[in-house]
Amino acid sequence: MEKRYIYADNSATTKVSESVLSEMLPYFTEEYGNPSSIYRLGRNAGRAVEDARARIASVFGCQPSEIYFTSGGSEADNWAIKGVADKLFAKGKKHIVTTAFEHHAVLHTCEYLAKKGFEITYLPVGDKGYVTAKQVEDAIREDTALVTIMYANNEIGTIMPIPEIAEVCHKKGVLFHTDAVQAVGNVPINVKEQGIDMMSMSGHKIHAQKGIGFLYVRKGIVLPNLIHGGGQEKGRRAGTENVPAIVGLARAVEDACADIPAKTERISAIRDHIIDGILSSVPASRLNGGIEHRLAGNINISFLGVEGESLLLMLDMNGICASSGSACTSGSLDPSHVLLSLGLPHEVAHGSMRLSIADPITPEDGDYIIEVVKTVVEKIRNMSPLWEDIKNKKQGTERWLSFVSPVE
């Protein structure tokens, strides 16, 4: 098998596309003016920023004035959640509804607010990784300030029923925010039609550069100013605009949302081929997260008796870039909170691998991935005393077996 190089970590970040880069380039050395300046060079830059805002608004079905550029998803999440909390706490609203498997930008923000006196409800996500509108409805209380639920999960790719969730929030008169970082470009999003009050997104997941994103804030919601200073972003987030990044973001959004159905069909066919190929050839494995309503490029599989970081290093030696939810790769003692939220034991979560595929992946790349994963897992298991214990049915190992396919 000839060695290939396959970047399969597009949920971590993506390559800046040629189209994005070429739109950005003039704003570094030619149209480099400050958008706040009065002369032509400044006006041109200012026009580019406002034009980008309008292009983005048109893709998501909102007004340009409702788009606030940020440094990315984490900043947008922080601003939305802390901003609403700040405004509504004084009115006696001190409860937030979220899920157990949000991105840390949301979870850690909620934990911060919990220390400030908020109560947080973390909705369970079941063994497949979904929440329902009914769960949200039941969790909302008189004093609920905000519901914040991710559009699609970054590790297991499951997509939440956002329009239905937004509907129950509105029925109960509660604001709804969604972290759509992983969903943009995968799910058609129209914030008005879907009833989204606030939405965070990040450019570098869709082939724009790192360090740019936006927060959509529905007209009528007034968040506290995030950065005090000049009048940029209507004075809400001061600081000279990152003009090239903003221009690139607009192009990336347009490209990513241009033909979602065809892209979904193409990528999900390869995804399913890889999932089937791995699950059918590697014993004691499992797919994490439901296959229905799943991001087209997301594959998350656990292998019993294997540790995730070793797996990633060996995949890397074979030219495949992937990620894992093992404790070792998370930099903490516990494996991924997302995998644990599905009810997985630590021992099963440690052996996880996430592949997030995107264009220009080919079916042949898929075949290569299947072959490499098969070989590498076998190699790791051959030197794993844990795998030996599992095969020998050592006491204590049987409780993991119900989570995976048969060992032999």
């Binding site: 540790e307 070793s310 290093l313 030696m317 034991p345 630590h346 021992e347 051959n382 005393p385 844990l386």
Partner: protein, 141 residues
């Protein structure tokens, strides 16, 4: 993010002394599956000298590399010299480890001691005065 040295990557990619010894004179196992690392070490002892050593490890890149390095360091050594090998020596031999991976080297030292303790037990000798106490995995307790 952490960076592994060339030496760590070499020992991870080409681990030395992987396997089992069927008629081992001492077998030690440390770590646990919940934490994500287990090391199992087999030694063959002849006349107080460790003549052969093999290991199996479930764990991250550093866990594999430290076990591999530890086996290389004790092979052919007298037991008392092998017992002098500390986790620090293993880290140095690997040209360093990221801070978050130092516990792997501790585990490697412990797996080695645990195999030697087992050897003494099989000889009818109380290992504790010689090898010392082997603590439980710190991160889990």
């Amino acid at each position: 993010m952490m960076l592994y040295s060339e030496k760590v990557m070499d020992h991870f990619a080409n681990p030395r002394n992987v396997g089992e010894i069927e008629d081992a004179d001492g077998v030690g196992e440390v770590g646990n599956a919940k934490c994500g690392d287990i090391m199992k070490m087999y030694i063959k002892v002849d006349n107080g000298i460790i003549t052969d050593v093999k290991f199996k490890t479930f764990g991250c890149g550093a866990a594999v590399a430290t076990s591999s390095m530890a086996t290389e360091m004790i092979k052919g050594k007298k037991i008392e010299d092998a017992l002098k090998i500390t986790n620090k020596a293993v880290v140095e031999a690997l040209e360093g480890l990221p801070d978050s991976k130092i516990h792997c080297s501790v585990l490697a030292e412990q797996s080695l001691k645990s195999a030697i303790a087992d050897y003494y037990k099989r000889q009818g000798v109380d290992p504790e005065p010689i090898v010392g106490k082997i603590p439980e995995c710190e991160s889990c307790h």
